[in-house]
């Protein structure tokens, strides 16, 4: 497959702060992110010809039409994309395809989730909403805790190995003005925190946060005429993979990584022409919904060998000044995970890093950034690679 390598450009990005937005509704958040993105691209709202919005929960009433209404984008197509935790990045993927097909010149990919403060609508019932009826109910912490305990048993990983991820990501997030949690933590804080689902404690888990993010997608020849004419970024690859719906219920599942990530990465690397990701990828924003997930992501994404995930973090290779900085933004650990927004936020982080204007920690001279979402649970993965033009 030819893919969309170098055929799609990112002309501008925007995001709200990710936090508990008690004073704002999802419509406010989405509009704020979109207005930042259009200003960043130097375009008017009227220049947008179509939009895709990633949103997971539907209890808040947000769909394509209401998202278009909130952002005052009347009379254009607006499609809601839902794909578990990859919802935002899959919205971006579909926007890219429409541009690569030549159907539109300038489109909007965005995502939003307003999870806290839903009043009489109540907090979302993840069990009811995300687990199909033929599966036994289990919460996300419980599912990922099984992976962690398996790594403890099989590889001798410890709660210290998990805590190092939290400490690293909070150190990065402390420097990012849009992060939910903007403070460093110590190993002791992480290890002594209350347990959520053994061995995952409070600091091994990302938070429930609200937020929105937006990306202006176009073709390179048009990006050259907009605000970032010299430093727009281009999409190198956009891999999405779905495994059977619940690998954790598959008798053959070994709990030592996620097939969806390995498949999506293989697709993305083939499309981008990447043969040695540990050397060729400059930095990555990966799905650290739990600390154990980030450790396994290193392996699944080919940043290190299988079994080396804990060492990859412990010896500083994933640190902001390491060989392959992972989650220099602070990750889901620092931002929380407003589900539909996360993927588009990550695309924005990649673009700003590549342009040398990261909001928080700036990595050194990056050429290629990778963004990764995993969800479903464990069954869908999106890997997007963005590079300088």
């Amino acid at each position: 497959m030819p893919g969309i390598k170098d055929r799609v450009a990112i002309a501008g990005v925007g995001a709200t702060r990710f936090t508990e937005h008690y004073e704002k509704d999802q419509e406010d958040l989405l509009l704020e992110a979109v207005e930042e993105a259009t200003a960043d691209a130097g375009i008017e709202r009227a220049d947008i010809e179509a939009m895709w919005v990633g949103v997971y929960y539907r209890f808040t009433g947000l769909s394509g039409t209401t998202a278009a209404d909130a952002t005052r984008l009347y009379g254009i197509p607006s499609t809601r994309v839902e794909n578990y935790c990859a919802s935002g990045m899959d919205a971006f993927r579909n926007a890219c395809f429409a541009v690569a097909a030549g159907v539109y010149d300038i489109v909007l990919a965005c995502g939003v989730e307003k999870i806290t403060d839903q009043g009489s609508r109540g907090l979302p019932n993840v069990l009811r909403d995300s687990i199909p009826p033929f599966m036994p109910p289990a919460s996300a912490p419980a599912l990922f805790a099984m992976a962690a305990s398996r790594c403890f048993a099989e590889r001798g990983w410890t709660r210290e190995d998990l805590a190092r991820v939290a400490v690293k990501n909070h150190a990065n997030g402390a420097r990012h003005p849009k992060a939910h949690f903007r403070r460093e933590i110590t190993m002791e804080t992480a290890i002594e925190a209350p347990m959520i689902a053994w061995p995952l404690g409070r600091f091994d888990s990302c938070a429930v946060s609200d937020g929105a993010a937006a990306v202006i997608v176009t073709r390179p020849e048009i990006a050259k005429t907009l605000a970032h004419k010299d430093d727009y970024t281009v999409v190198k690859a956009n891999g999405l993979a779905v495994t059977s719906s619940q690998p954790m219920y598959d008798p053959g599942f070994d709990y030592l990584g996620f097939p969806a990530t390995r498949m999506a990465a293989a697709q993305a690397y083939a499309e981008a022409g990447i043969t040695d990701p540990a050397r060729q990828i400059s930095f990555a924003e990966v799905h650290d919904c739990f600390t154990i997930t980030e450790l396994l992501n290193y392996e699944d994404l080919g940043f290190c060998e299988p079994g080396e995930g804990a060492a990859f973090c412990a010896d500083g290779r994933a640190s902001a000044d390491g060989q392959l900085p992972v989650n220099p933004s602070g990750g889901l650990k620092s931002f929380g995970h407003p589900i539909g927004a996360t993927g588009c936020r990550m695309i924005g982080e990649l673009t700003r890093q590549l342009q040398g204007r990261a909001d928080g920690v700036q990595v050194r001279d990056p050429e290629l950034g990778l963004a990764h979402n995993l969800g479903g649970p464990g069954a869908v993965c999106s890997v997007t690679i963005v590079g300088r033009n």
Copy 2:
């Protein structure tokens, strides 16, 4: 915009019967539709490289990954698209874009809804799920009844004018083996039926039904090598429009038609090069969620002049042997409206009509078929035009 005219082909179609499927779950329905479509195209399941699934309700747990699981399509991207009543047709649209972009060769667009028999999950709460929190709650019959009563007052339309649509569509549906209601009705039956929301009675309203539909999407050069090498169909246009989220709450809304339909039709006609739809479109499957909607669709789609909708039906122009047969399948009146499935079912009806193998009433020598969905409520519309290769 160049659009996707003649760049995307339909290689095969499939659908379940639409009815109350008490013995089948959504996974059974989706698999049945997909297997019919792959057999129709003469391909293996393994030939499918990516899929898009239209599903509106999420209380049943169906998303991209679970849809892939149900259809045994492991390891490929599967994206859920939700866009109110246009969900299925928007899934098809996004599948078309990915093929037109050259990213995939053969993909699947499908849709499903299992509305009846949800057991402890209960019937869907349309008010809760579809009306955003900032809008007053109102049911679909009540909203469309306002359009009908406005037409009664403004144009002198009557319950007989509405009933003619129901009689026509039931006469067509009576001949379709996959319709939910397979019997003709009389004007008396329609007019004397219990009232739902005045002036809309039971036979002015489509039913709650279950069903699934699937379409195999590819490029013409590949369709030429598959089962329908001689009679595959091609996509001429795919227009989607979104107006402000609730035109019925817009003080300027006149209740005499739907701006979303007019905008989507204008886009589609421009893309397909159609200047006189009443002459150039051979037949249409339109969104007759209520009889009044079909009458207004005639006008909004340019099949007749504004105000002539009732006459267009009364003088037989929309009949199976008329100038422009509308809903020769029997429409939502006969099939019900399993929301995510409807759009893909319509694409299937167009293809089979153009191939001279309609399941029910076959229209005479069609060249171009049009499919139309309206939802949102009233705020999103998709118009797809399909023609012979």
